[in-house]
């Protein structure tokens, strides 16, 4: 569980080598570097993955995508899975990063 909590406060983003292709049930993610293919099986997960770069951390991304808090552990587990194949990457927090204002 500590992993979940840790990730919630971290800043992440879609890897620059990854393209997301919309599909009727979610999206297909393709990594041009390692050529891995992954499917995002829920629209809301696609929103979260796309939103990562625009939010200061994972917690606010989940909030912005209206994911109920009870489902956060599932989403964080999915994000860990995506991180394992470099689909998403940790984003170094820039000094003086814009806060929630950027989300709205």
């Amino acid at each position: 569980m500590t992993e979940t909590i840790e990730m919630l406060d971290e800043a992440w983003a879609l890897s620059p080598a990854v393209a997301l292709r919309p599909e009727p049930f979610g999206a297909m993610a393709y990594h041009f570097g390692n050529r891995k293919l992954t499917f995002l099986k829920r629209m809301q997960l696609v929103d979260v993955v796309r939103g990562l770069a625009e939010c200061p951390d994972v917690r606010s991304t989940l909030q912005a995508a209206d994911v109920p808090e009870s489902q956060w552990p599932g989403y964080v587990a999915a994000l860990h899975g995506l991180a394992a194949t470099d689909m998403i990457r940790p984003r170094p927090a820039p000094a003086g990063a814009t806060s929630e204002g950027a989300v709205a």
């Binding site: 393209a19 292709r21 599909e23 009727p24 049930f25 393709y30 050529r35 293919l37 099986k41």
Partner: protein
Amino acid sequence: MTILESRPVTARPEGGSLIEQFELGLDAPICLTWELTYACNLECAHCLSSSGRRDPRELSTEQCKAVIDELQRMQVFYVNIGGGEPTIRPDFWELLDYAVSHDVGVKFSTNGVRLNPERARFLASTDYVDVQISLDGATPEVNDYVRGPGSYDTAITALKNLQDAGFEDAKISVVCTRQNIGQLDEFKAIADQYGATLRLTRLRPSGRGADVWDELHPLPEQQRELYDWLVANGENVLTGDSFFHLSAFGVADGGGALPGLNLCGAGRVVCLIDPIGDVYACPFAIHDNFLAGNVLTDGGFETVWQRSELFTELRSPQTSGACTSCAFFDACRGGCMAAKFFTGLPLDGPDPECVRGFGEDALASGDRVLPEQGKDHSKANPTRNQPVMLTLSRRDDALEVQRSGPPVSACAENPLAGFAL
């Protein structure tokens, strides 16, 4: 070959399994096979596309580039290019470059004929290109028997050229047959020797493969051997997900399934574009029954993929027919559509190589009619590259015949004719 007015809307199960989603189709194929030419220097006995002669209607360089542009727009990130022998198209290298620079990765299949040291060096300098050399025997005897004289040496030379040029991780693509299933370890050794990855795929009774399928397709006990070998060595061996019919060797609920996509992806997640732009449901189904449309005359590839009547039908819930009552249906999903079709079996019944034995029963039932092989681009006359599928052997009763002497003609006049000493 009808294109619907508008794209059909399918209700999707929220959070359904990927298999369920795939069966209902994707917005664009995961990857597709594109055969650039029907021309080929070889005349393999089991060629799935009955290749040999170039089709005069073959897409021009510009038309091919337009297809690549469309694949880029649709975000198809990978194509498997084949033929025929794609590298004998004069614009092959140009198209390869064009695809890669438009975010469409290429894996191409070749018999190796054009992979000289210079081409090998060029390939080693590219990113995002995979090369797959076809080899259907780990020895010249077994390979050349179906691929033609000299083809083993051509393939090995190409592998050597690639290795010498520093090209990493070429693929050796093997169609598994009765003659080569016993050579799986030797194939692996060849792959290791050339720093290549082994890829094993299933023999289908498609194209000229229909003529030799009875003789070449693995025997039931060899299927078991193949399955066991894949379970033991599968980690580092590619299969193109083509052996899902073997998954029924596992337990009924799908446990023991081979890694990869265990379903028929035809028209759902894969398809074929042929050299004249015809779009078929899968590379093993070049037949009018599986022709969805044409990229030139039906409004482009995206229109055919998303709105053809055939693909819409393939993405609708299918009946499992005679397989419905089989406990292993979830493991094999009824097997390969093309294998059933070209052996004259109903599409909603068992695969001809069903590992539970239902395919043999269906084949033996006798009331099947083999479909005509539609598109034949075989060479009109045999050339020196044609395989000669003959092996030297002696008749089973040779010794008996020797003992009893030659057969006696009805006209023999000698009073002792027919008496053995």
